[in-house]
């Protein structure tokens, strides 16, 4: 099996049974997994921030860095690979608040804002979320096994488990 590292601000879509899509150590970042069980197409987005700062536009920027542009970009890439938008099973992972320290926590809670941005974007597109493994204060590594559409999460000190 071949692991494809989906880094920050990246997305990957695959139909190859040999592929495992991985986003390592998601903290406040959010991972969005989309699977079409009929065409066996799997996709993973590793978004960093909810949306662009006001006054900036996507232009040359990398849309996968932001939840808003990234979710729509992943759907488009899935459809291009042969997936049907109405069949997509969507899981969201991550969005932790990593800083638990007085004076720092509130201003840094990007994780919660990332989760909200995914929910809002998908709700606008009328696409339901099947599973959420979000929030808390720990990082997560997510793996998507294209061969059998399994999705797993690992947190520090624990074994990989299916969600």
């Amino acid at each position: 099996m071949k692991e494809t590292n989906v880094g920050l601000g990246e997305q990957a879509v695959s139909r190859s049974p040999d592929d495992v899509l991985v986003a390592y150590g998601l903290g406040s970042c959010v991972g969005v997994v989309m699977i079409d069980p009929v065409s066996h197409t799997s996709g993973l987005l590793h978004a960093v921030l909810p949306k662009m700062v006001d006054g900036m536009n996507y232009g040359d920027a990398n849309p996968s860095k932001y939840v808003e542009g990234g979710v729509e970009g992943l759907i488009a890439a899935m459809v291009k690979e042969g997936a049907n938008k109405n069949r997509l099973i969507i899981r969201i992972i991550g969005g932790a608040n990593m800083l638990i320290a007085s004076g720092l926590t509130r201003s840094f809670d990007i994780g919660t804002r990332n989760i909200e941005a995914v929910r809002t974007t998908l709700s606008r597109l009328k696409m339901p979320i099947a599973v959420e493994e979000v929030g808390g204060h720990t990082g997560r590594t997510v793996r998507v096994y294209v061969a059998d559409s399994r999705v797993t999460v690992r947190v520090i000190g624990e074994k990989e488990r299916e969600i």
Partner: protein
Amino acid sequence: MEKQVSFDQDFLEKLKTIANEGVNNAASGFSGMVGRKIQFNHPVARLVPVLSIPELVGKPDDDAVGIYLRFMGDLVGQIMMIVPHQKALELVDLLMDLPPGTTQYLGPLERSALGELGNLCGSFFLNSVAGKMNADFRPSPPAVMVDMIGAILEIVVVTTGGISEHALLVQANFMDGSRCVEADFWVIPDMNSLQDLIKKNSVA
């Protein structure tokens, strides 16, 4: 639009000199706290793509401890110390004067000891730089995170990544002869506030 910030090589060299003294001072504080001579490599100052930051130390899902603080005042920025998990356990033994191998778990007391170390190294660094640049910095209390490296370093990414595609990273490494102590020490100044401070002081 993104505000473009650039630094020439000459400036980065000068910044390295200032950072070198700061890291030297931090290493002295570190040495005093653990009761052994801590060495450091000469810091590197460079612009790095923000999104590559979680992959600059080890593998992003390796276990580690991050000690993080911010500073405000004439210059705004962040300081992050990253210690591999096993090395953090050994470091706690040193800090708390325990026989090697005693610490097996990082509870509140152990995290507090590591936080104090980060606080001390950060303050020693900032005091030295503040003196050089005739400026005033106020550090925040430290936050200690025990998690995957990628998740820890995302803090730096989300803090800088909304505004700029690149971050100015000052990177040093603390160690001792026996390799018992091993820690990465990062300083990430906000680039706009650094340029403003330099204009004011004509340090460059």
